[in-house]
């Protein structure tokens, strides 16, 4: 028995080790193991294109029913997954040990999350969203209706199938290829908490949209309306954990991926909706295949030198260098931008300078140390839409001139020197005259 248990522990630890080597790391930030929770296993088949695209990109998907009693996100303090997909909008309670707190804890440890809600989304899903600064319409029966930019359909007449084309302008979130066709959306809308600066609207509704129950008469103003309705939003936490919230589960379905789309009032007919491109690109972002930055080789020195000094003197000319790379899903590529800024900071920035780049990932800034002494910091606070934030800080003291470092021969003082030296010379001559003259 004892032998057996030792063997089990050994095998378990070996497999854990193997699992860890293939997983997420700082050097390889793309997620690997993803838990997919569905409230109906038929989703695996009806949303297979989305799941297959993830599997084709190397993700290991683990499908579980949301009320499976064996669900666990971590075991022995180790996370079993790098990402979580919640395609279970109606689940009122998760099985196993999973609850809102466990999911938030998962996110707090830097893991990623995709949540898709739907009409009749449960309070559980709404709570998770609310914790992330996303408020789904409180009216349970409300869906997003748009009589202005609905998808023209011969069978869907209630204008709840929306052709949304109001994307966020960000290559890192949605890829560099423009999404031409509108994205089909059928579900509920949400609003973003204006105080939350981490959450971004990726797909917004058109100005004519509103969130209401299509079957009952509208008696009070809809709680959400116009382009302030967000259909799909993303959150990037301060620890770079990424979250996608979609008000529609159908957005990821095979049916919507393949269906042709025509926006009301527009003569453009697209053979295929933008859903597949949108879902694929946003999943690339959320699982860190794009927009993940790292800064290496942070160094600084006086102009003309190469060694890093331990202290600078006021008015020194210095150079600050940093290399920034972006993870492309398989390798680190040089990050090219023209807006990386460095601050020379003590209580407030004394110098804030945009760094020049060699387009190979190296960023340089050179400036003169201010004529204020104290303990400064080199700070790079790089926060760009969709990218992970870079926050570098390096402390460096700055001292004033030493006594012998001041200017020694000031022309203004020459008359004084001249006077002293002429007096000295006169004294020397006078000593002769006084002693020896007759």
């Amino acid at each position: 028995m004892a032998n057996f248990s030792i063997a089990t522990v050994f095998v378990a630890s070996i497999s854990l080790l193997l699992a860890l080597t293939h997983s997420f790391s700082l050097e390889n930030p793309t997620d690997r193991r993803i838990l997919v929770l569905v409230d109906d296993l038929a989703l695996k088949s009806s949303h297979s294109i989305f799941f297959n695209s993830l599997q084709a990109r190397g993700f290991e998907l683990d499908f579980k029913l949301s009320d499976d009693p064996k669900i666990a996100l971590q075991r022995y303090g180790q996370h079993l997954y790098d990402g979580l997909i919640l395609f279970s909008p109606t689940t009122e309670r998760f099985g196993g040990s999973l609850d809102v707190a466990a999911i938030l804890d998962f996110v707090d440890s830097g893991k990623d999350l995709i949540v898709a809600a739907d009409a009749n989304a449960s309070d559980l899903i709404r709570n998770i969203a609310a914790e992330c600064g996303i408020d789904f319409d409180e009216d349970q029966s409300a869906v997003v209706i748009d009589h202005g930019s609905y998808a023209v359909s011969e069978t869907e007449g209630d204008h709840t199938l929306i052709a949304a084309a109001d994307f966020i302008q960000s290559d890192v979130l949605l890829g560099s290829t423009k999404i031409e066709a509108p994205v089909l959306f059928k579900g509920i809308g949400h609003s973003l908490n204006p105080a939350n600066s981490l959450v971004l609207k990726v797909l917004s509704a058109s100005p004519s949209a509103y969130s209401a129950n299509p079957k009952s008469k509208l008696s009070s103003p809809p709680s959400l309306s116009g382009s302030s309705i967000s259909l799909v939003s993303v959150v990037q936490a301060r620890n770079n954990a990424r979250i996608v919230f979609s008000g529609s589960l159908d957005l990821f379905s095979n049916k919507f991926f393949k269906s042709p789309v025509q926006k009301a009032g527009s003569s453009n007919k697209y053979a295929k909706s933008g859903n597949q491109q949108f879902a694929t690109e946003i999943s690339k972002w959320v699982f860190h295949e794009r927009g993940h930055l790292k800064a290496v080789n942070v160094r600084h020195h006086r102009v003309g030198e190469t060694d890093e000094p331990s202290i600078y003197r006021i008015n020194d000319d210095l150079e600050y260098l940093v290399e920034i790379y972006e993870w492309s899903g398989s390798s680190w590529e040089p990050y090219v931008a023209n807006d990386v800024q460095v601050q020379f900071y003590m209580m407030s920035p004394y110098v804030l300078k945009t760094m020049s780049s060699n387009n190979k990932g190296l960023y340089i800034a050179s400036f003169k140390v201010p004529d204020v002494y104290g303990v400064f910091q080199f700070k790079v606070e790089y926060q760009r839409l969709g990218y992970t934030s870079l926050s570098l800080a390096k402390q460096i003291p700055v001292r004033p001139f030493r006594h012998n470092e001041y200017e020694r021969f000031i022309p203004t003082a020459f008359p004084y020197y001249g006077a002293s030296f002429s007096t000295m010379a006169a004294f020397f001559i006078f000593s002769f005259v006084y002693l020896y003259s007759k």
Binding site: L41, A42, S45, I49, E154, Y210, K255, L352, S420, Y436
Partner: protein
């Protein structure tokens, strides 16, 4: 990939799966406007492309004969041609399997199934050998699947060739031993020592038993067949039902798609072997609806089960379901769209449907229970096989309706062959152009009109109004449908947007054939957060039935509201534009302390020169006074001391110069100390010499 076949780990999961699937369909049903009103469309082109995508073998040939059969069967039903080289390679593996000694009855069965689809050339000897092996395995068979494979194999050989004798000797006995596995609820067990019963097995058993019927030379015992028919009826009593009229069988082990598909396969083969029997038509139609309702499955196994079951239902001897579908349920009043109805088999074919007519029986107005009874027959266009309603029934204006159709078979005898399912309720949207009249916006002061602006809501508007908190704003307009009825849109919202971005939305109410809203600013000051200033007015009117839904800016109003009292609520914070939040920050460069202002260098140099003037004057003065060195000691020793003394003074002065140029204080003081001692010594000697000389001179 195939979750329906993966062995479930616990009973709870099985149950959950069934519940969950049920729930999804329930949702589907709820989503479809009104309960029991849903459209099921027959198999379409998209199934074909999905099948080609899912069944295309990765390396040019199928991985197993079972997979090959599933692909080929799906292709056959959907009418997709198989590539000749794929055919050849598959036939080759069929022949290999059939001639191999090691293949068991399952392999043989799958090989024969593929061969029945591909018409592979198999020589008679091989078939005879296979036949005897299968007949042998029928005798040894213990479990249901053993029977299924061997009897299925024999049936396939019988269909392919008449040259080989495949008849069973003890058909009654085999029939009884399979029948012995049946359960009282119509389900079957896989073997006698396995107590679990399953619906999937029931379908398998039905198929096997109908195989036995075709493999006997003599008639089987009629009681056996009758008992089996009763089992089938029992099985159908336990069928699961969705709200939209779809029926399915659930099976913990296999999942609903494969279980239902298996039953359909068993049922249709049994019907073709033993003739029709009494299954309610709506249940058969419900099964067809189930398969059509699941859309396009994302994995090949489910797709095969779906298509195969529909293929079996398409032409069978039990009951052929007829599907009533509408190509379009959104009809436009403006373009005079006609309501079109197609009646097809499940595979979308119209050529095999019997002569029939479609009647529109009732029209329900959405949201109300009362219906107008119409009973109007639709015009049939034989060329396109479409039934058309030439004109919408009287009284049907724009809006949502539920139309109830009925399929009437021309030949009453056909009722035994076809399942039409009684009334089919279909949600229909009638859209139209809504006329907007009498639109005006007014400012009222104690109910008398202060200013009035007419609006052209179909064009552009830009009104400029101003009001204070004692006045009111009134907006009113009339909407009329094409049939001159007043129209009340779902969305009629008036939006006021303050310069600061704060938005207020008001619902435009409906009163006496007119849409009207009166904003009494006195009551609204609190809600408007006492924000005076310019408000943009925007009106959005929209409805699912309104083709000219619009959202337009009407202009602006300047509100003059009272001062903010201290306790008033503050306006909520506005969302910040994300692009500005992430942009680069403005650069900061340090402003250095300015250099001290100094006089110009020339001035310094000029004064440096000037300070030497007294020195020169001193020299000139000395020479005028006739200074001389006559008193300098002449003897050697005092002269040497005098030279050393003055040299010492010179050294001290040079040291001062060096101190200025480069030396620091420490070296200077040390050196000065040494020089000072030296000077003290030589100075004393020199001065004492001088003193003694002068004393001599005085005394002399």
């Amino acid at each position: 990939m195939n979750f329906f076949f993966s062995p479930p780990s616990s009973l709870a999961i099985k149950f959950a799966m069934a519940m969950k699937l049920g729930f999804t369909f329930l949702l589907l049903a709820v989503a479809s406007i009104c309960e029991a009103a849903a459209i099921f469309n027959p198999i379409s082109e998209s199934h074909k492309s999905a099948a080609i995508e899912l069944f295309s073998p990765a390396d040019g040939s199928f991985s197993s004969l079972e997979e090959a059969f599933e692909a080929l069967r799906t292709f056959e039903i959907l009418g997709i041609d198989t590539k000749p080289d794929l055919k050849d390679s598959t036939c080759k593996s069929v022949v290999d399997t059939l001639s191999s000694e090691s293949s068991n009855s399952k392999d043989l069965y799958h090989a024969l199934r593929v061969s029945s689809l591909l018409k592979c050339k198999i020589n008679k000897e091989a078939l005879t050998g296979v036949t005897s092996r299968l007949q042998g395995s029928v005798k040894d068979a213990k479990s249901l699947l053993d029977f299924y494979y061997s009897i299925g194999g024999l049936t396939l050989i019988k269909d392919q060739t008449s040259e080989v004798d495949v008849l069973l000797e003890d058909a009654d006995g085999i029939f009884r031993s399979i029948k012995a596995l049946s359960q009282s609820d119509g389900r079957w067990r896989y073997s006698s020592n396995n107590p679990d019963s399953s619906t999937y097995a029931a379908g398998v058993a039905l198929e096997t038993l109908s195989g036995i019927i075709t493999l006997t030379s003599s008639e089987l015992d009629g009681n056996l067949i009758e008992a089996l028919k009763k089992d089938v009826v029992k099985l159908f009593e336990n069928i699961n039902k969705y709200d939209d009229g779809a029926n399915f069988f659930d099976d913990g082990h296999q999942g609903p798609v494969s279980a239902t598909s298996s039953v359909v396969r068993g049922l249709t083969t049994f019907a073709s072997a033993s003739g029709s029997f009494n299954i309610p038509g709506d249940k058969i139609l419900g099964l067809a609806r189930f398969f059509l309702g699941i859309g396009i499955p994302g994995n090949s196994k489910d797709l095969y089960h779906q298509i195969d079951a529909l293929g079996c239902l398409d032409q069978n001897r039990a009951l052929v379901p007829l599907i009533l579908s509408l190509p379009a349920t959104v009809l436009s009043f403006t373009s005079q769209d006609k309501l079109k109805v197609r009646v097809t088999t499940v595979l979308g074919s119209t050529s095999t449907t019997p002569p029939l007519s479609v009647k529109l029986m009732q029209v329900f107005t959405s949201g109300s229970k009362d219906a107008s009874i119409i009973n109007q027959e639709l015009r049939f266009d034989p060329k396109e096989a479409i039934h058309t309603l030439d004109a919408l029934p009287a009284g049907v204006d724009v809006g949502k309706y539920i139309f109830a159709f009925e399929i009437v078979l021309s030949d009453p005898e056909h009722k035994k062959i076809y399942a039409t399912g009684g009334r089919t309720k279909v949600p229909v949207y009638v859209t139209g152009f809504i006329k907007i009249d009498n639109a005006k916006i007014e400012i009222l002061e104690s109910d008398s009109v202060e200013t009035q602006n007419k609006l052209d809501l179909s064009g552009k508007n830009d009104v400029a109004l101003s009001a204070n908190h004692l006045q009111k704003l009134r907006l009113s307009f009339q909407l009329t449908t094409p049939l001159q009825n007043p129209f009340n849109p779902h969305q009629a919202l008036l939006k006021l947007r303050h310069e600061s971005g704060v938005e207020h939305i008001f619902v435009v109410g409906n009163s006496r054939e007119q849409l009207k809203i009166t904003l009494d600013f006195l009551g609204l000051v609190e809600k408007l957060f006492y924000l005076s200033g310019k408000y943009d007015i925007e009106l959005t009117v929209g409805d699912a039935a309104m083709e000219n839904s619009f959202s337009q800016a009407l202009g602006h109003i300047d509100l003059d509201l009272p001062e903010v009292p201290e306790k008033a609520t503050r306006p909520p914070p506005q969302a910040v534009d994300p692009y500005s939040r992430f942009g680069p920050m403005p650069e900061i460069s340090h402003i250095f302390r300015p250099q001290e202002t100094r006089p110009s260098q020339q001035l310094s140099y000029a004064f440096s020169g000037l300070v030497f003037v007294p020195f020169l004057a001193f020299l000139v003065g000395l020479s005028r006074l006739g200074a001389n060195m006559k008193n300098f000691p002449t003897s050697t020793a005092p002269a040497a001391f005098a030279i050393l003394f003055h040299g010492g003074i010179a050294a001290v002065l040079v040291l001062y110069v060096l101190f200025w140029l480069k030396l620091d204080l420490f070296i200077t003081l040390k050196t000065l100390g040494v020089l000072g001692m030296f000077l003290l010594f030589v100075g004393h000697r020199t001065l004492s010499h001088l003193a003694s000389t002068s004393a001599k001179v005085k005394s002399a």
